[in-house]
């Protein structure tokens, strides 16, 4: 048995993960929910939360939109 945690985490998949298309489609909604209630947003959209935890590019977009939405227009 050879445990290699970083590889193990990379190969692990979450069946709740909704994929990039659906996550990005409601990213603006999710971002505002996070700004209001971070814990509640993950509970309401577990598939989006699972996706953002696994997809680097989508999480980058999420972080960018989160920062942008916090700036007064």
């Amino acid at each position: 048995m050879t445990d290699w945690p970083p590889l193990d985490r990379f190969l692990a998949t979450d069946p709740r993960d909704v994929g990039c298309a659906q996550a990005l489609e409601i990213l603006h909604v999710y971002v505002e929910m996070v700004l209001d209630d971070a814990d509640g947003s993950a509970a309401r959209y577990p598939g989006v939360a699972a996706h953002l935890a696994a997809c680097g590019p989508c999480d980058e977009d999420f972080q960018g939109l989160l920062a942008a939405a916090g700036i007064p227009s």
Partner: protein
């Protein structure tokens, strides 16, 4: 980007069906009445003449500010600086403005208008960085250096004896268990370090499709490594069939 930061979600499409249409909007999203500022934005953008022109100018200024900020925020991920960076921001803002005006009727007030609009420019920044990667690529797609794998996953070279067997088993599974498409995506992203959005450009695909391809590859590889005793247990996703997964998401 470390490979472990790039994951995939399977939308449960059959293997090789990576160009399938995007799934519909999550049904839980509810429409709501527009707040005053959002209502003003949509009223101005849907009007004509000077009112619309002024709104477009103001929106472009906002989008340009967000694009510049986002490119600065991602500064550690790209080598672009100076006038080229600002040109990229202008391109992202202009393309986002066009997309927003074309899709304005699709804004249903699920968020503030500005948050909805900023999403377009953030995604444009990602797309443009993916395209820019190939102007001065830092990787070559014609080589496979499996000895880089431990470093990509942060393993200490001193532990060579510990990870050698696992790397060999993973290499064998990549060769034997993955489809040609899955293998190509896995090697490009994990071994060669190609950013996912850049691979999208190279393969003429889209992010969701590449993500799903890599997701399926990961699931196969983990199941194979677990079956051969290299990983402790298979997680629940490893035993979910494509059909079961499809049903769960429909």
């Amino acid at each position: 980007m470390q490979p472990c930061e790039v994951s995939v979600a399977s939308a449960g499409t059959p293997e090789g069906d990576e160009d399938a249409a995007a799934a519909p909007l999550l049904p839980a999203v509810q429409e709501r009445r527009l707040d005053a500022e959002s209502a003003e934005w949509t009223r101005a953008l849907e009007s004509t003449g000077l009112v619309r022109e002024q709104a477009l100018v103001r929106l472009h200024e906002l989008l340009l500010r967000i694009a510049r900020g986002e490119l600065r925020r991602r500064g550690g991920q790209h080598p672009i600086t100076g006038p080229e960076l600002d040109d990229l921001a202008h391109q992202a803002a202009a393309d986002a403005l066009l997309a927003i005006t074309n899709k304005l009727s699709g804004f249903r007030g699920e968020s503030r208008f500005t948050t909805w609009a900023y999403r377009f420019v953030i995604l444009e920044v990602s797309t443009k960085l993916g395209r820019h990667f190939w102007q001065k690529p830092t990787v070559t797609l014609d080589s496979e250096d499996w000895d880089r794998l431990p470093d990509r996953f942060g393993m200490d070279p001193a532990d060579h004896a510990q990870w050698r067997g696992l790397v060999d088993a993973l290499h064998r599974s990549v060769d034997e268990d993955l489809t040609q498409r899955q293998r190509r995506v896995f090697v490009a992203i994990v071994l060669q370090g190609v950013p996912l959005d850049a691979l999208v450009v190279q393969l003429g695909s889209n992010r969701n499709a590449i993500y799903k391809t890599l997701f399926d590859a990961r699931r196969k590889l983990r199941a194979a490594l677990a079956a051969n005793g290299y990983l402790t247990t298979a997680d629940s996703a490893d035993v979910v069939s494509v059909d079961e997964d499809e049903g769960r998401r429909s």
